[in-house]
Structure formats: structure tokens, C-alpha cells
Symmetry: D2
Subunit: 383 residues, 4 copies
């Protein structure tokens, strides 16, 4: 029996790993260990712990690591706390392989602890290209990892070019697409998000056209976070379409983003926007699948929405360079550009689907590979 | 005026950065900030603080970060402490550029703090290939860095292949060679190491042939550290040549290495070996320059000794894949192989010099570049 | 010259130490060092840094220490971060005496760092009795301290009974009274708080009768924080008098308190309450001096308001057992009791002043003592 | 079922709590949780983990917390690390009561974490008076604790005088006496310490008269630690009696103490002293019971040895003010005084036993009380 330790540090990571966790539990030679830490534990940004436990997973350890403050000191200090404590947890759990997900700043703590402790490290979603600090974190984690599960062929190719051994790179598709596949098959909006999850703002009609907004601050532009979100608020308020707006995740700048949203509500009191904290991954995908378009800078617009064929407006630099399908229109931080793009996408109705990010079976593929890879820790640049 | 913040985390880092610090101080558009932390502060492994202050540098902050224990938990926890506190120091110092050196495990703390805080990061000695955890750390730091000062052409080429922007890569040679150049010019052993630095063991004659030993534990083989150093001890004791033996640096396994040395002394009481903690970089280079050969797994054998033309016996995997000149013989952890190689090198006398690691002017080149690079923090994979 | 290092960890501590800092700067044998950390740096709870710098004090070090989360884990983890980093700061500053203030949970970090590093520790406001975790912290800090500056005679007597040496106990009065004295002398409300500091809520008339509310969560009852503040909200909304409401400080439970206030505003939209984050100490005292009464559980109601003769309604257990003057009515967490007490106090107009907490010259007394005490660190229970 | 969480932070704490742990396990309404951290995990000072596991106890969590360095920074930083991580462990274990032992510097981390997290805290060995930083720590822990298990009547009286509620103070005797009682009954030296535990130095004859030395550095005099132990070394070497010398525990100054011992051995090579790291509590007590006298500044000389009637020479200030029986002679740091006192005690043979520290049934008494106390967390000074 191999023990596979999955570390979840933020809300979106859960939907990117859930089907892998399912497959690990089902696999008869694997045993799951689960650590939840960082912003994944904070209710303010939507604790994902309830969803995880409701889905039947047992959490081995919860670790609070987020150091308060908008300033850029918060990210490295929170990473430091995570690194300090996850080391003790790894020492007690002694997993055979650690799995880390994507590119949020705290994930480097998982990668350092595992690699320094001679525990083989598997990385999901390496080899992609985006903007912001994520870009640096993602490739640094690749250089600390032993096994790479790439979401796209191009991502796999980039990992190889960075000097990783081809035999350690697996193009499995992204596990988020597995969840998305289920929604594509059964996509009825069979719940009322407002009733089920609550929030603030005016109640809106979701039976007709509606849009979904999700805009995060960009860490390398954190001092403009308030200004950036204001452009989106103005465009959306002007269009006056039924809108579900999700609060941003925790990052340097998120207080400014949230603060700007709060001020805007106080002053303008927009009549057709409902603000929510979060919902389960599957419910969120259903909400998106039935929407007219998604607006903001979340990767879900580019990954899951391309798979489902949901039109997207991608704002600013956060997803710059990320591989994308034909469902996306890119715009600047400009209320005019955003407004125009929304109008185009709404008339566009459902666009063509794309499976560059996978075919819906990544979870099983990854679990299977984890059960049979050689447990090595040494590696060397291939050139 | 640009402020350049140099972070020294371990004894050997100082000699790799000293001439850069000299050149920063001399440069009229640059101002030096200096942080000393980690094992560089611990006397047990040879505090480098005395040398730094004697050389006239002012230390802005000292930070104790090493968490005790031989186990592999010590490395990630010490890194975490470093990351936590260096963040506060950077917030107070607010440097324009941070400079990190080489590939020791704690250097990733410097790299994370700087990159997460949007401070441009310069890395010295990237792009090389070796064994052990250093390999992972080095390339991860490259992916977090904005400017790369490579020691060799091949290293520069590798950094480019990893996807870094060619315009951010500078092949300056290694600053250690600057110091070494001074020793090559004036290499007389004009001091008695035993009198000047003290140590334990039998006093030895350094006027004739003598050898120098420096062997560190390998983090990925830490449980064999004692066994590995025993082979070297046996070979050296059997040859019975005058020997200066330097204690290893602090790493998982260093207690085993030191413990084995201590036991060997108790039991065998070798008559021609003198054990020392450390000495100034220049004195150490003079000691090497006048020796018959260097034995162990230190990079100094491959870098500085190739530049000076000192024969070297390189043991085991620690320097595996590092570019090397013709002064090196590689051997396994085997007392017989080590003994034979020493005999060959002693008869070999001075071998051909090599300048793959630089031409002795890296410090000035680096300071000059730091004074004029664009202070950017965004970057993206080139492919 | 002696260096006296003052550590401020929270908003209210500044007004309790300001005149001591003034007196240290004026004293020709003393030199001030100033560290600001913890919630004193967080804007959300009202950063006091701006006031400190505006008053002309130089801050030597700022340290972010607050770990996010409502749970009770936040307090010990934030204390741990403070202890870790203040140690490094003390090592760099090397003060002759450290001064710590009152009894907030993070102050124990200052006390531990100083006492473990053999730096004499002076404690202001020991020997008082209240409820909550503060009670434990206060007396534990007394047991770690070398010099005690008590606010009242009774407090000084209690410190002696706890086994401290009588010659180390000084009843100086509380330095907050020094500031208060200035306000008593010149108490005109010569600014418009709403214009000067901003906030949210309906603008109110401060020219006639108005009340001030300040209610903190109680750490040992943190799960009821929302419920407790709701009672006060209901009473105050019902009375419909012009009200300035200050947000609570950061403590386990403060998110619930703030959340309840926010919900109440959304639902009820009370027309005569204005919510503010914070203001300078002197402005706050002027606001209080001109108010009809203060409502809540802040110590300012019992200390400064008794000195100024401002009627107070003290709610719940937080100030239980604290020595008080005749200006205070105690009530339970009950909207009816709160409402009745406010009505009584408003008709009560200005009540009799009291100087149990000092005579307005504590700052100078304390600085003078600090300049001449023996710098000892050893101590022993007197019985 | 109540869960009682015992925290062991150092070698000597185990023997002070072992019989309590036994009694908790045997008690049908109690469940034991066990955390081992700090120097208790470090082999250099004698890991107690092996003894704990050999005795059949299950350790729930191990936490490495010791930050390297002789300087006084090591104590507060190690305490901070302990506080940070034990908080997470308490959050996961959720004990009903936490038990902390005695007065070592790290124990305050346990006390803070428990009290800040609203977990009732029980303290063993409060109310005693000694020198050094322990004095401050002990009483500060008393002020953070809810239940007090005093070793002597006088200690219990002092706790009451400090303002603790009489109904929370229990004079149970010290649990170390329970272990000692077993040795008193069966005290044959039925093992050869040198064979069983190993060490360095000349093998010695334990069949006749022999002495045992255990001398720790004093944290408030840490810069003289080397000088202090040298006096003892000189006295013991001159007497030339068979001597077992135990290495000191980890404290500021311990490197100097160990260093001085090592130098003395190199230079003088004393022929009748054997140096050992540690042994099981019971074996150590047997060694003492059969010795002619104990020399140094360990509390075992005053507590266990008075109970067993073993003569003791207590050196310097470390145990100053500790209640003692008639078995003790106090001397200064002076080789002459030490030598004379040893000669007196050796001729003194077995002295009168004393049971001021208990009657050998403390473990059961404590467990019984823990099973039935009210689980309260609030408390207030009694005056």
C-alpha cells in the first residue's frame, strides 16, 4: 500500500484534485492522506472544508497559516508558516508521495517540505504559462518535483524543455475536466444558488440570461486592485443584466478588491447583482454551464468553460499566455471594453467546445500512475 | 542610488560574493545592504561573521534560523524561519534588488521573500548541474529570479534552455575566481594555520607535501554520512601524509559526519591529521594553492582549484555533473580508490590551470550590471 | 545613556504609553527605541502607526504577526510569531530596559523575549483585576517583570501580595491619565469626527447629546460575541440618539462582532448611528468628554472616563473586578438593561470625577525611575 | 471519558510525570494524549523518546522546536516555535485538560497555547522557589494555570499567597517520588551503566565508593558556564574517585559547559571519570541510590536524593531557595569548597531520609483529581 498525501491550500484547488482523491480511495494499492491549510480554512474567503467533509473525505490535519495584512509581506510569511508546520505533519504522516496542485503562492511550501524531506513530489498543472507571481511559483515547483501531471500537450512539452526527464512527465489532462464532464452530462440548474448558499445584494432572476463574475487581484499589480475591479463593476452595473458576483480569493490586494466592491454597493446600490462567497465545485460549474457568459480573470473561464463551451470575457493580465480555446475574448481593465465584450458573448450563445485541457479521465490516470511509479527523489537537468 | 541587498546564509557563500560586495561599495550609484543568517551565524560550523566584519562590511541584520536536529525536518523548518524573518527585514530595508548566491537549501527563502514582495531578484551561480537537493534548489531559484549571473558559458546556456529570457542572463564568471586570482598572484603560505586558527589533533608539518580534506554529507544519502566519511578517514590515515581536515558544513547528516570523525580520533588517534573549523577565504585558498591535492566533495576542488591548478580527488555523488577541469579525479566512497587517487595526484604535482569558471573580474561586472538593469519583476517562460 | 525599548502591540496601548515616550525623549539620560507590531499595524482594526508617526516618534521596527482566523488558534499563533521576531529585533537593538504595557494577549511575547534574553523588563498597568484571558496574561507578565508601574494603590498592593519585591513596585498612576488631563483642560470638540476620520452609516448631529459605543468580544465567551453585541445594537437603535460606534479590536470573536454589526446595518439600517474605525487618542478623549455617556466594555469607560467625569454603561464580564469610580453603571448582555442604563446616565449629566487611576504625571515619573533603577534581572518570590 | 494531554519538553520532565501517565492510563474515565517536543527529541542531549516508547506509551505528536545557537536568542525562539506548532496540535487533538510540568523555559509555550485556546491547564511543581529564569517561568505558568499540583506543603501555601483559589490547589507530592519509592524498595545496581548506555572516558569501578556529577549552566550567568564547570572538574579530578559524569541539558550556556568538559578531557585526561549522556530514570535513581554522593546543581540532588537519603553537594545559585532536606551541603563555584564538601559527604555515608517532596503516591492522586475537577477556564486573583 502506498500512502499518497494530497495538500489543499485554497478553495479552487479542491475541484482540481477531487477526482484524483476519489480515484486514490478506490485504488486498492493506494491510501489517501489529506492536509487542508492556508486560505482553504478561512471562512471569509469561503471555507472549502465543509464541501470536502460533505463529500466524505477525512482530513488528517488542518493548519492555519495566513498572516494578516494586505501588504506583500502576507504572502511570504504565510508561506513560511505553512512550511514550518507541514514539515511536522509530514514527519508524523510519513507519506510515500506528496501531491501538490497548480501554482498558488503557498504551494511552494508543500514542494519545499516534501523535497527537502526526501519524499517524492508529484505536481499537477505544471508547464502552463500565465502572468503574475503564479508564473514564477509554478515553474519553481516544477523544478522541485519528481513527477509531472500536465493538463495539455503543450504544457507537457514545456516541462520537457525546462530540463525534466521525459519519463517523469505525464499528459493526463486536468482533473477539473473530470468534474466538468459530469456537469456537461447532467447540467440542469437543479438548485437555487441564492437559497442554497446565501449572500448579499438584490435577488435576481436566473431563469433567463445571466452572467457570472469572478475577478481576483493580480499580485504584481496589487496597488491597482481596487481600480481594476471598479471598471468591471461599472460595466456590469451599466448592462444591468442578472449577475452572480463571486468574492475574490485571498491574495495581496484582495482587501482592496473587496473594499472597492463594498464601497460601490454602498454608493451605487446596483439592482441586478447578487454577491456570493462560494459554492460547491459542481454547483458552480452548473451555474456557469447555464450562464450566458463568465466575466473576470479566473482560470475557470479558460479551462472548464472552454470544455463546456461557455463564452468568457478575460480581463487584464492574470491569465495572459494561458492556452485557451475559442470561447474567450480578451479585454483590458476598461469598462467600455468589458461592456462591449459581454454584449458580443451574450449574443454568441453557446460556443464550440474544446478539449485541450483533457478528456475527463485525469483522476483515474493519475492515481494509476502514482500506484506504479518508481519512488525516486534524485533528478538532474537533462542537458 | 540603488540599494542592493546581499543575503549570506552559509560560510562558503561569503567567498562567492565578497568581490561583488567590494564592487557594490565602490560603485557610486550603488549602496550595499547586508543580511547574514542561518548557519553563517553558528560558531560550531565556523561563524563567518568575524571575517565579514574584519573585512570592513557592515551587517544590517543577523537572523538565527537553524532548527536543531539531524533529521530532514531541520532543513525545511530552518528555511521557514528564514523566510518568516527575512520578510520583515526586507520590509524594513526596502532594497531595490536582492542578490542570492548559489544553491544551499536556505537560499530559497531569500528567493521566495524577494519575489513575493515584488523585489527584483538576482541569482549568482545558476545553471550548473550537480547532485543532491542543491540541484532542485538551484533551478527553483532560477525560476524565481529576474537576473542571472552565470559562472560558465554552459551554465548560461542551460538557463536559457530552461526558458529564461536571454537578455536577463549574464555570463560573468564566478566571483570566487576574483578572490582566487589574487591568491594565484600572491600565493605564499605566509601564516601558520595552526597558530592562526587553532583546532585539534596532532600538529603537522606544512613545509613539505601536505593534503587538505573537506567532505560534506550528501542530503539525499544522509543516513550513510558516517559510513562515507569513514572511508576517507581510513584512506587518509593509512597514507599518513600531513593533512589539514576541515569540519563539514551544517546539513542533514553533518552530525553523523562529525560524530564519525570524532569516534575515529578517539579510537585510532591518527598522528598526521589536524582538524580545523574554518579560516578566511583567502587563507584557505593559499592553503590549497600550496597543497599537494584536495580530497573530498567540496565544490572548491572543482572551481577554485581548477583555476589555481591544484590536483583534486572528488569523492561520491555530491559534485556529480558539475563542469570540471583536468585537475579532478573522481572516485567512489571507497578507501582503496581514495588512497590510489591521492597517490596519483601527489605525483601529478601542479596540473594545468583552467578558466571555465571565470577570469577574475566577475565582481565588477556584476555590480556594473546591477547598476543599470531595468528593475522589472514580471517574467514569462520564453516558449 | 540608557536605551528604553517600548513595544506597542495594539491600538489602545499607544495612548497608555504616549506620555512615557514623550518623557523618555525629553530625559537627557534616556534614549527611546520603538517597536510596533501585531494588530497595531493592521488597518482593518485601525492602524495606529499614522498617529505615532504624526506625533513625531520614529519607529525602529514594524513586525506583522497576526495569523488570520476567528478561532482561538489565532491568539497563540500570533503570539508565537511576535515572540519569534521580536527576539531578533531585541538582538539587533540591544536595549537596556524593555517596557511592556497592560495585558493584551500578545504582550506576553514581549515579556518572554525580554526576560529570556536577560533584558530587564518594566510592566505598566500590572496588579489590576478583570475578566477574560487578560486576567491570566496580566499576572503572568507581572511574574516575568522586574519593575512594576502600577496605576492605583490597590494594584500596587496586589503586586506586592503576589510576591514581588516592594522596592520594585512604583505606584505612578496610569499614563493615560496624563493625556486625559490635557483633554480635561482643553476639551472643546474642535473637529468634526465624521469629516476628519470618515466611516459608514448615517451622518449624525454631535452638537447636542450623543453617545459613544465601543464593545469588544470577550475571549472566554467568543462563541457568543455576535449575540452579545446584538443586544447593544438593539438598545442603541431603539433609543435612536446620535451615536458614534467604534469597531472592536482584533480578538478571537471580533469577526463575529463585526459580522453581527454588518448584518444589523443591512437589515435594520439604523438612522442615527455612525460607525468609525478609530481616531487619535486625544480626539477620542475629546469625543468622550463631550458625550452624554459611553456604552460598551472598554476599559476607557472605567479609567479615562472616571478621571474626566463621563458617565459610563459597562456591559458584561470584560471589566468585571476592575476598580471603578462612581461614573459607572454595570449591566448584563441585555438590551433592556442597556437601554435603561443609558437613559439614567443621560439624565445624570456629568458625574463626579475621580483620580484613583492617577494624577496626570505618570509619564515623567516613570521615565525618571527608568533612568535610575538598578539594571537587575534576577528576582525571587518574597515568601 | 476525559482526554488528558501531557506535554513533555525535556528529558527530566519524563520522570516527573511518568507515574501520572501510568495512573491516567489505568483510570477508567481518563484517556492519555502525549506530545513530546523540544530538547526531549534531540539525541545530543539524550532523547527520552526511546525510554517513553519502551515503557509502552504512544506518542501522539513529536515537534522539533529547538533553534540553534548558544546565545540567549535560542530560548525565546525555540519557545515561539513550540507555541506555534503546539497550537495546531491542540486544535487537532482537542484535549479536555492539558498538563504541563515544572519550569523549563519551553513549558510556557504549553501554558500559553492551552490558556489562550480555553483549555483548562494543570501545572505540576508550581510554588517552588529557585534561581535563574526558571523562577520567572514557574510563577508565570502558575498565573496561566487552572489547577495546581504542588509537591510540598510550603509550595502549596505559596501558590495560595500568589492569589490562586485555594480550592484549585492540591498538595499531592511530586510524582518523581513515586518512581523513587520503587527504587528505594528495590535498589540493587543490577546493570552496568557503562555496558548498558556507553559513553566516553576511562572505565571505572562502581562496586565500591563512587560519585555522580550533573552540573547544568545557569541561564542568568551563562557567560560564566565554562568557568563554573571547570571548578567542579578540577575538584573531581583531584579527588580521583570513580566518577560518573552526566552531560548537561540544553540551555543557553550548555555549549560552553560541554566545551569546557571536552577541553579538560583533551588536556588533563582524568583517569577516573566516565562521561555519559543519559539513562532511564529508574536506572539513574539506582545509580544515585548506590553512590556515595551526588555533586552539581541538579534538582534531583535535592528532591529524589533527599527522599532516598543520598548525600548531596549543591553548587552555586541554580537551586538557591529550593526547599531541601538534611542531605545537602551548599558550596560556591570553588574547587576547594567542592572538594572539601565531597570528602565530608563521603564519610557521612547514608544520611537521614526526608519526605517533604511526597510519599510516593502522587501519580494516582493527580489522575484521580483530573478525573473529577470542574472544567473551568475563568479565574481571578483572590484579593
Amino acid at each position: 500500500m502506498r500512502t499518497i498525501c494530497v495538500v489543499i491550500t485554497a478553495r479552487p484547488s479542491y475541484s482540481r484534485i477531487k477526482t484524483v482523491m476519489d480515484a486514490i480511495i478506490k485504488h486498492k494499492e493506494l491510501k489517501l492522506q489529506l492536509i487542508v491549510m492556508g486560505s482553504a480554512l478561512l471562512d471569509k474567503y469561503g471555507s472549502v472544508v465543509d464541501f470536502i467533509e460533505k463529500d466524505g473525505f477525512k482530513i488528517n490535519n488542518k493548519i492555519h497559516t495566513i498572516v494578516e495584512g494586505q501588504e506583500l509581506t502576507s504572502m511570504p510569511k504565510s508561506t513560511a508558516l505553512g512550511l514550518l508546520e507541514i514539515t511536522t505533519v509530514f514527519e508524523n504522516l510519513r507519506p510515500d508521495i506528496v501531491v501538490t496542485i497548480a501554482d498558488r503562492y503557498e504551494t511552494i511550501a508543500t514542494a519545499i517540505a516534501a523535497s527537502y524531506m526526501n519524499i517524492p513530489l508529484a505536481h499537477i498543472q505544471g508547464g502552463e504559462v500565465t502572468g503574475s507571481i503564479d508564473e514564477k511559483v509554478r515553474h519553481a515547483v516544477t523544478k522541485l518535483s519528481n513527477f509531472h501531471f500536465a493538463s495539455t500537450k503543450l504544457a507537457g512539452k514545456r516541462i520537457r524543455k525546462m530540463g525534466e526527464n521525459p519519463s517523469d512527465i505525464y499528459v493526463t489532462g486536468c482533473p477539473s475536466m473530470d468534474l466538468t464532464m459530469e456537469v456537461v452530462i447532467n447540467h440542469k440548474l437543479d438548485f437555487d444558488p441564492i437559497v442554497k448558499y446565501g449572500g448579499v445584494g438584490s435577488e435576481i432572476d436566473l431563469t433567463g440570461d445571466y452572467i457570472v463574475v469572478l475577478q481576483h487581484p493580480v499580485t504584481t499589480e496589487y496597488d491597482k486592485a481596487g481600480k481594476h475591479v471598479l471598471e468591471t463593476l461599472q460595466a456590469v452595473a451599466k448592462l444591468n443584466l442578472p449577475t452572480i458576483w463571486l468574492w475574490p480569493n485571498i491574495d495581496a490586494g484582495s482587501d482592496d478588491t473587496s473594499g472597492e466592491i463594498r464601497s460601490f454597493r454602498e454608493e451605487i446600490n446596483p439592482q441586478n447583482i447578487y454577491f456570493m462567497k462560494n459554492m460547491s465545485s459542481v454547483d458552480f460549474l452548473k451555474l456557469l454551464k447555464n450562464s450566458s457568459c463568465i466575466v473576470g480573470n479566473s482560470s475557470v473561464a479558460i479551462r472548464e468553460c472552454s470544455f463546456m463551451g461557455v463564452p468568457a470575457i478575460n480581463i487584464g493580465t492574470r491569465q495572459q499566455s494561458r492556452e485557451r480555446g475559442k470561447n474567450v475574448i480578451n479585454v483590458n481593465y476598461s469598462s467600455i471594453e468589458i461592456e462591449e465584450a459581454i454584449l458580443i458573448q451574450i449574443n454568441n450563445k453557446k460556443c464550440k467546445k474544446d478539449n485541450i485541457y483533457g478528456t475527463g479521465d485525469a483522476g483515474e490516470k493519475i492515481a494509476d500512475i502514482l500506484s506504479r511509479v518508481d519512488l525516486k527523489i534524485e533528478k538532474r537537468l537533462t542537458y
